[in-house]
């Protein structure tokens, strides 16, 4: 195709879509803005959901949090579908290299028995927690309000499925692809007393109705504690107990957490600073779940035999993080 026309003479008649002009003036918009703002239907819904007749199809009242503009919950990473998958593709390439290296060098062979047993008993069962996190984030995506927050919740949901699959692969590396370690880990998850508190917590989280409460419980409370305990403290314990190479296999989870925390914190901060009522509400949820999740995790932490202070330190990390967003 050849274009003969001198480009200088072709003037655009507007810089972007009208909804973005109303928000930001008539200037060129970013791809994130075009893909995000006002994309979700706002009004004139035809029918009430048969599955929830007291609500509209898209309804702000599926949480008690109130926002003047739900699009103020924007994502500092500016993820829309295209930028999201490209960013994650880079992370998975790194992960793939790590897993390939680990397998090629057969590094599993160098694991101490302690490390191997603890991995199966304490790390691999987290795949079930990640599966819960997948559902909890998809929940926010399905019942939340406004593309800004709901798309990011879906990205998080898919991330968690990915992490559950990485954890499963760790199991398969340990058992030479027989699936035995996955069964053993599931057995632990289902029956070992140390996991029952956390399993009950996961089941409970799936019955919480308010999607923003689910978000606080999962993405703030559970995730911060889990990150600190399993991917920082337990990782340390592993490197001191003949499992130092496993860090390669969990690097993805640490990188992911760094990336995702930016978004979670931005959303919380914005919602909390919106009004005193939001602050109180979210504070209430945080206070309630913080104690219960700690209680649920305590037996696993004890069973892991890591540093006695681990849970306290994790709790401090959580409280620091909460304070940063205004809780």
């Amino acid at each position: 195709m050849t274009i003969e026309i001198k480009t200088a003479t072709i003037e655009p008649i507007r810089s972007t879509f009208a909804n973005l002009q109303r928000r930001f003036g008539d200037k060129p918009a970013s791809r994130y803005q075009e893909a995000t703002y006002d994309v979700q239907a706002e009004t004139n819904f035809h029918y009430r959901p048969l599955w929830q007749p007291d609500r509209l199809l898209n309804d702000k009242r599926r949480t008690a949090v109130v926002m003047e503009d739900w699009y103020s919950l924007k994502d500092p990473r500016q993820f829309y579908y295209g930028s999201y998958v490209q960013q994650r593709a880079r992370m998975q390439e790194q992960a793939e290299n790590n897993y390939a290296f680990f397998e090629k060098r057969d590094l599993a062979r160098h694991l101490s028995d302690d490390a191997r047993n603890s991995l199966i008993r304490h790390l691999v069962p987290l795949r079930h927690v990640e599966h819960t996190a997948n559902l909890n984030n998809v929940y926010g995506s399905a019942y939340g309000y406004g593309t800004a927050v709901t798309q990011a919740m879906l990205f998080d949901g898919m991330d968690r499925l990915g992490i559950a699959q990485y954890l499963s692969r760790i199991g398969l590396i340990l058992d030479g692809n027989t699936g035995e370690s996955l069964s053993a880990a599931k057995q632990s998850w289902m029956q070992d007393s140390c996991w029952q508190g956390m399993r009950a917590m996961c089941e409970k989280s799936l019955t919480v109705e308010d999607w923003f409460e689910t978000f606080v419980l999962q993405d703030l409370v559970i995730d911060t504690l889990m990150q600190e305990l399993f991917y920082v403290r337990f990782d340390q314990w592993l490197s001191e107990h003949g499992g130092q190479d496993v860090g390669m296999l969990t690097e993805f989870m640490r990188d992911w957490y760094k990336d995702t925390s930016r978004w979670v914190d931005a959303v919380l901060k914005e919602a909390v600073s919106e009004s005193a009522a939001n602050q109180q509400l979210i504070q209430g949820w945080f206070g309630n779940w913080r104690g219960r999740v700690v209680e649920a995790l305590a037996p696993v932490v004890a069973d892991m035999n890591i540093d006695d202070a681990a849970l306290d330190i994790a709790l401090q990390t959580l409280d620091k993080r909460a304070a940063k967003v205004g809780l």
């Binding site: 972007t16 994309v39 706002e42 397998e103 399905a142 879906l154 990915g162 692809n177």
Partner: protein, 500 residues
């Protein structure tokens, strides 16, 4: 230890299917509350066959490669004024209809699949739905990014989501998807995954994408082709859903059949805008609507339903009526838009003489007899400076929301009009198909937000139609609407081409 080689199926099963567990502490029904109320019986979710076995790492990798290529084309098109390569300014109106009418449905598909991707009790089905959910988000976003360029140079794209929620003819696609999403999770899958994605989707995508290819619209061609591999996955999901439901319990068969009847009818009503686009809006034609219908429904769909007969599923009800409709609907729809061209957010026009001949050739049994005379009259009136614009608000079908413009198919000069009564009120329909749907769930369809009624009730501003168009719909009057002749779109197009 020598690692055992795993085949794809076993690997996927180990990585994904075993993530869920039997609850001990909470009632599972509270976590997955919507599975029972439709009357569908599921005995064993583990019988679900994963329609595609894609792990997330592979998903990120493949999709990122596709996005990279796609956005490279968008960037190039923007740098080189790609919008000047389309066949004619008339073509642009087809994609205005796409952005305001179809792209918001991609968004609703994202939402609907997120909903069922959270709600199904089986992890295999959930994950497949979640992947479709994120794919559909991709589709709406890539479409907006493709159209972003056109919005900068043409009218009618500028407020697409606002219009989708309000404009009279856009309530046809909006109510279609609202209907599916407000249904139960199994109805949603039969409606969207099976009836729409599996049976009818080719009739949306092939016409729009080959239409774009024939008319020099690289951006649309590229997002269309790029979405094809996603669609292939969605179609396998649609087929798996049907098989799974039918195999789980015989009592599911009549429920599924009823949904197929309903959604097939609703789907073909929605497709009448595609038919009109193919026959009238593409300056370079691809094939006629009738030909498209024969290839993509009658041949492909016929084979499918033959296959499903072993489960006790028959052809959708009214398939016979639809076979007759393929001769008429596109002509009747474009005529309606032409005569209501002042109230449309895109331009309309009289087909050229060459196009009238093409239509006569493609529709030998109907066009010259019923439709050419209308256009000859329109031409005459236009030449006299009296272009036809109808002002009366049309009566809308209470189900599909299309104005009562379709005729009785055996008597193509008589408008088809069915009526039913519910709780003392009269409700109007375009067809028996739409009336049946209402009568099966009247308490749902009485809630319909019918644009004409809403205008009469004063819910859309006004009182005059131009005020409603301007203030409630956000049309730029004199720019977005009316005939292409004399429009700013046309003037600019001529100016650009002169410079070339």
């Amino acid at each position: 230890m020598a690692a055992k080689k795993l085949n794809l199926k076993d690997k996927y099963k180990l990585l994904t299917r075993d993530l869920d567990w039997d609850f001990s502490y909470e009632d599972r029904k509270q976590a997955f509350p919507y599975e029972d109320f439709e009357g569908i019986k599921i005995h064993d979710w583990s019988k679900w066959e994963d329609p595609f076995r894609l792990t997330m790492d592979a998903y990120w990798k493949y999709q990122a490669e596709k996005e990279k290529k796609l956005y490279a084309i968008f960037d190039a098109s923007q740098q080189h004024n790609g919008h000047l390569n389309v066949s004619d300014a008339r073509y642009i109106n087809a994609i205005k209809l796409f952005l305001t009418g179809i792209s918001p449905l991609e968004y609703q598909a994202y939402q609907g699949f997120a909903h069922v991707g959270r709600q199904f009790g089986g992890v295999g089905a959930r994950v497949a739905c979640q992947m479709q959910s994120i794919d559909e988000l991709r589709h709406v976003q890539t479409q907006v990014h493709a159209m972003s360029q056109y919005n900068k140079f043409f009218d009618g794209f500028h407020d697409w989501t606002h219009m989708h929620d309000r404009v009279w003819y856009l309530s046809v696609p909006k109510s279609f998807f609202d209907d599916a999403r407000t249904g139960g999770p199994f109805e949603f899958l039969v409606a969207i995954s099976f009836s729409f994605e599996y049976v009818l989707t080719n009739l949306v995508f092939v016409p729009f994408m080959s239409g774009a290819a024939h008319n020099g619209d690289m951006a649309t061609v590229t997002f269309g082709f790029s979405a094809q591999s996603d669609e292939a996955r969605h179609m396998t999901l649609g087929l798996e859903v049907i098989k799974f439901l039918l195999e789980q319990d015989e009592a599911n068969v009549p429920i599924v059949q009823k949904w197929i009847d309903k959604w097939f009818w609703r789907g073909t009503r929605l497709l009448s805008i595609v038919g009109m686009m193919m026959d009238y809006m593409l300056p370079n034609k691809v094939m006629s609507w009738k030909e498209g219908w024969e290839v993509y429904f009658e041949e492909a769909g016929g084979a499918l339903f033959k296959d499903l007969a072993r489960y006790g599923i028959r052809m959708p009800k009214y398939a016979g009526v639809i076979e007759k409709e393929k001769e008429h609907v596109s002509h009747q729809a474009w005529w309606t838009f032409y005569t209501y061209g002042h109230a449309a957010g895109f331009h309309t026009w009289i087909p050229t003489d060459e196009e009238l001949d093409w239509l006569g050739e493609k529709y030998p049994d109907t066009f010259d007899k019923y439709y050419r005379p209308r256009w000859e009259l329109a031409k005459k009136l236009e030449a006299e400076g009296k272009r036809i614009y109808h002002n009366a608000l049309p009566q809308l079908c209470n189900t599909c929301q299309i104005p009562l413009l379709f005729t009785d198919m055996d008597n193509p000069t008589e408008v088809s009009h069915c009526v039913t009564e519910y709780q003392g009120d009269k409700y109007h329909f375009c067809s028996d198909g739409c009336k049946d749907i209402f009568e099966d769930e009247p308490e749902k369809y009485v809630q319909a937000w019918l644009p004409a009624h809403q205008i009469f009730q004063g819910n859309c501003g006004g009182p005059d139609i131009p005020d409603i168009l301007k203030d409630y719909y956000h049309f730029n009057l004199g720019a977005d609407n009316l005939d292409i002749k004399g429009s700013p779109d046309e003037q600019r197009w001529k100016e650009w081409k002169k410079q070339g």
